[in-house]
Symmetry: C2
Subunit: 186 residues, 2 copies
DNA sequence: ACCTGAACACCGTTCAAGT
DNA sequence: ACCTGAACACCGTTCAAGT
């Protein structure tokens, strides 16, 4: 009757509606019409459940059409990140405090990789640039959705446009002057 | 016997030693040799306690000597942020999900403001640049301390040097070409 | 003024038992 | 194979009572 996918989906919904602290084994079980103990047949424990919830968020993250230019694809991903954060304000912040070595994050990372390669970055520099780029976008989206700066929607949008310009400049420079920003790359 | 400062200090220590989830009214009270209920004489509730803990972290954040150059001051603050994150890995991530309208964050923000003004940014652009800069630094420090990329210390340090270069370039451009990065500023 | 006992409605988790 | 009852060690919080 109950399977892991339903448990994870219900947990994500609960987090979206009432915040991360409302994701309780008791509440999830109740919503599924079952006792809390029965969840242990499908998940290891609560920590593992949250891992699966983050993975579900990443799995539904939309990726841009590969026929778009590298710039358009990165811009798309940036917008998609902010929309994902708005859709899942309770869960999205977990992205910054958990390992990025998971299948779901690998999938998104590949999309950023390909865009940066098309932009002209060296294979060596792409790794570093991807980590920086995602950290900035995710950090911005978390701040926005958590109301960190207490600004109006318009102000936040203007901040984001500013961020986009800075990131575009960074990528352009990295592409045109290889090794200038970072030399001994991994 | 027990006052708010002691409660907050004990909570921060507990978070540093055993993680944020170990900060429990029961555990804090026990460490102070008192019952959990007695804490309510000094704090409003647990959420307010966490606010105070974050504020304590900000209060101890070291600020650079004003005789240093703007570049040296920003570099100092960046290093201090990473050290603060390493000292308080459980609490530091809360900085990105809480309002920056608090006395403690205002104090640090002023230091960044003054450095950006000295760098040559316009008064209008400094607000936006400060939000971007702190978001990036805090986002990086959280990623580092949470082991998000699972890298070695050396790799992380190289990433940080790369970030520093990008941010320096951004500030330099903003100073030399006013309005070029962001026009209609608040 | 400050702390506590008792009580309440919750948590996560284990395990033997039920179907 | 899947779910549950009972039990345990915890949570945050309120409030009347103690000193």
């Amino acid at each position: 009757m109950i399977d892991r996918a339903a448990i994870v989906r219900t947990s994500l919904e609960l987090a979206d509606e009432k915040g991360l602290s409302a994701v309780t084994l008791t509440a999830v079980a109740q919503r599924l019409g079952v006792t809390p103990m029965s969840l242990y047949g499908h998940i290891e424990n609560k920590a593992a459940l949250l891992d699966h919830v983050v993975e579900a968020l990443l799995a539904e993250f939309p990726l841009p059409d590969l026929e778009l230019s590298w710039y358009e694809r990165l811009a798309w991903i940036g917008r998609a990140a902010r929309e994902s954060a708005r859709r899942h304000p309770g869960v999205f912040p977990l992205l910054l405090t958990r390992t990025a070595a998971t299948p779901g994050s690998h999938r998104v990372r590949q999309a950023v990789f390909s865009a940066l390669l098309d932009a002209g970055l060296s294979v060596a520099e792409v790794n570093r640039a991807e980590r920086l780029l995602t950290t900035m976008i995710v950090g911005f989206a978390i701040s926005e959705v958590s109301g960190r700066f207490g600004q109006s929607e318009e102000d936040i949008e203007a901040d984001y446009v500013y961020l986009e310009k800075v990131l575009t400049m960074f990528i352009t420079v990295a592409a045109q002057r290889p090794g200038d920003l970072g030399d001994e790359l991994n």
